[in-house]
């Protein structure tokens, strides 16, 4: 076993556990949608390439390693695909050795063979990833439906340079259809059909190694729901592979992307994937339209995430600074660690850079959508929500949580949840305004805490960290009598009101007037700020705010004139 924490060392030949005389050469990459990991295995009878990947440089490197191995002993090259997604195989086209049907035998499960031979852009993911694929001939179709009735026995035989290759149908194991491939006098390698991530997904066992393709990612946001994804099949496949792992004999698990795993770690990971998969009912197919919609939502969300997290980080720096001034150096030093501003800045910048490349045409909507998911899942790990809730305005945290949650929900293939109920608009607006006018604790509470140092410290921190948004602004609220209740998602509406009030206060409004009323077929909430400094966009509401208003059940427009900015939210009246 190599040193360090890696079960196998990348870019190096090393013994295959459990199979004497066999060696494995892993080519692993960080997780992305451009190219998969690749693995070379050499035995006395053959060289096996599992997933050539998606990048020409990768194929060139693999081919050079194959040539070196063949220079020592000439053997057939058998390329087996774990499934027919373009990032796992298209690189083979770019190298003469791997692309030559006389030099390389290409094998894949039957459904994947059909997809590749017919250049099916949907099942190969080429359409979503913006790639053109030519039809490619498949030499060995594995685990064919038509052979399912055969209990056991050879189903195909071929001879390459006098080396016999035989595919043998075996009885299903752990509920998984399977075959063995016999090459010369080598021990058999086993193919398990594990559909779910795609109809043709297979796991391949060679000695104590198990190659599992994209099983670990099959329930991930943005991948659950891709064309050909099947929840029930995935659950069966995961259960079968976990059972296989539990029987022993497999030491190391090689995934299609990312780090190689010890069998125990892989089993736990696949258990979590199985659990996640169980919750994924009614996932919409991630087609090009859905990818475009999700990518646009990612971009709109990140505009707001950027502002929200910068304000939260800034507010923590501010509280820390005030505590330092008060001589509470210990508390001051601990506060910035509750939210990793540096990490957030890096993530936001990373997404902004990716977005520029996306708009220049380098990436497809699915790439942008997945990038958004990657950034947001990391953002979720940058802040200690429970601790922050004691110091920062809870509406900031609530909105951050909903923003990140809504995006992940959408990337998972669902629409963000909406709970539309009939809402009394003036009462809801009144509740929102009270929340932004009253301090986090009353003067009486602060006085009462004076004898309890811990309680006093807690209230003091909250008072500094949560000044009421509207404390320095003159607010006038008037409501027409008799406005009928309208269907509204109350939580999204409250978030929207807070964002709009923040915008007015933040751009300098010294007076804000709020009016609720009706006009023709709609109930209307109007928020006007006096003294606002203008924006170059003339006050057009940000895409995020318009989208949020739609999720709340209304429509939003904005007007800007002579230092005043007005937002109007319209909710249709129930006929």
């Amino acid at each position: 076993m190599p040193g360090g924490n890696e079960p196998l060392t990348p870019l190096q030949w090393q013994p295959v556990p459990g199979q004497k005389g066999a060696f494995v050469y892993p080519f692993t990459r960080k997780v992305d949608t451009v190219s998969s990991n690749s693995y070379l295995v050499q035995t006395s009878g053959a060289i096996i390439l599992i997933d050539p990947g998606g990048l020409p440089d990768q194929a060139t490197h693999l081919a050079s390693i194959v040539r070196e191995a063949r220079a020592e002993r000439s053997r057939p090259l058998l390329s087996i695909l774990t499934h027919a997604h373009v990032d796992h195989f298209i690189a083979a086209r770019s190298d003469p050795l791997l692309a030559d049907p006389e030099a390389t035998l290409l094998a894949i499960q039957e459904a994947g063979a059909s997809a590749i031979e017919s250049a099916d852009g949907r099942l190969t993911m080429a359409d979503l990833l913006g790639q053109e694929i030519p039809p490619i001939r498949i030499d060995l179709r594995l685990v064919r439906e038509g052979d399912a009735g055969m209990s056991q026995g050879p189903v195909r035989r071929m001879s390459v340079n006098a080396v016999e290759i035989t595919v043998v149908r075996e009885p299903p194991e752990f509920g998984l259809p399977r075959e063995q491939i016999l090459v010369g006098n080598d021990p058999p390698l086993a193919i398990y059909h594990t559909p779910g991530h795609s109809p043709d997904s297979c796991c391949i066992r060679i000695g104590g190694l198990l190659f599992i393709g994209d099983l670990p990612f099959a329930a991930s946001p943005g991948l659950a729901g891709i064309p050909g994804w099947n929840r029930e099949a995935l659950i069966r496949s995961l259960a079968g592979i976990r059972e296989l792992l539990s029987r022993g004999g497999i030491a190391v698990v090689c995934p299609g992307h990312g780090r190689i795993l010890l069998a125990g770690d892989a089993s736990r990971m696949l258990g979590a994937v199985q659990e996640d998969t169980g919750t994924l009912t009614g996932v919409e197919e991630l087609n090009q339209d859905r990818a475009r919609e999700t990518a646009a939502f990612a971009e709109a969300c990140m505009e707001q995430v950027n502002e929200l997290f910068t304000v939260m980080a800034g507010r923590l720096y501010y509280v820390s600074h005030v505590m330092e001034e008060l001589g509470e150096d210990g508390i001051a030093a601990d506060l910035p660690a509750l939210l990793r501003g540096d990490v957030i800045d890096d993530l936001v910048e990373d997404f902004a850079g990716f977005t520029r490349e996306f708009h220049s045409g380098r990436y497809m909507p699915i790439h942008q959508a997945l990038k958004g998911g990657q950034v947001i899942s990391r953002l979720e790990r940058t802040f200690d929500q429970e601790a922050l809730a004691r110091i920062l305005d809870p509406t900031l945290l609530r909105r951050a949580e909903r923003l990140l949650g809504d995006y992940t929900t959408m990337l998972r293939g669902y629409n963000p949840p909406r709970e539309v109920v009939l809402v009394d608009l003036p009462a809801t607006v009144g509740t929102c305004l009270s929340g932004h006018t009253l301090p986090s604790s009353s003067d009486e509470e602060v006085l009462a805490s004076a004898d309890d140092q811990e309680a006093f410290g807690r209230l003091l921190l909250a008072r500094i960290g949560m000044p009421p948004l509207l404390s320095d602004v003159t607010v006038t609220f008037d409501a027409e009598a008799g406005i009928p209740a309208v269907p509204v998602d109350r939580e999204h509406f409250l978030d929207l009101l807070t964002y709009l009030l923040e915008d007015l206060v933040g751009t300098g409004a010294h007076a804000i007037t709020i009016h609720t009323g009706t006009e023709r077929d709609a109930a209307v909430v109007t928020l006007s700020g006096e003294g606002c400094t203008g924006r170059p966009d003339g006050g057009i509401p940000r895409r995020f705010l318009s989208g949020l208003c739609e999720r709340a059940g209304g429509t939003l427009d904005a007007r800007e004139a002579d230092g005043s900015r007005t937002y109007r939210i319209r909710f249709p009246l129930v006929p």
């Binding site: 502002e307 910068t310 980080a313 720096y317 501010y318 800045d345 400094t533």
Partner: protein
């Protein structure tokens, strides 16, 4: 981000242009430190060319203000764009610094 330094009316004015992002924030910190190390105790940051400030940028403002709070020291910001001013207001930073509409207004008071 571009930073232009000029001495005016007994103060140093750092005119900033671009985004104060994760790369630019340390540049700004170094520029302010250079001015302080050179003996300048009145520093004005002209934000007229700044469209975005990250949390790292906010931290640099705070660190700079702490270094310039002795008698006779001055640290201020002027010409803030609406988006940057909004972030400063919502983060509570406007009570920590002197903020001016124009460079002239700042220097006249110093």
């Amino acid at each position: 981000m571009e930073i232009t330094t000029a001495a005016r009316g007994g103060a140093v004015v750092l005119s900033l242009a671009g985004r104060i992002d994760t790369v630019a924030a340390p540049m700004l910190e170094q520029a302010v430190n250079r001015a302080i190390d050179a003996g300048d105790r009145k520093i004005l940051l002209d934000f007229s060319g700044v469209s975005y400030i990250s949390s790292g940028g906010l931290r640099v403002l705070l660190v700079s203000a702490k270094k310039l709070k002795g008698p006779g020291d001055r640290f201020g910001l002027c010409c803030l764009t609406a988006d940057v001013l909004k972030v400063l207001r919502l983060a509570g930073f406007t009570s920590l610094f002197s903020i001016y509409t124009t460079e002239g207004e700042a220097l006249a008071g110093w």
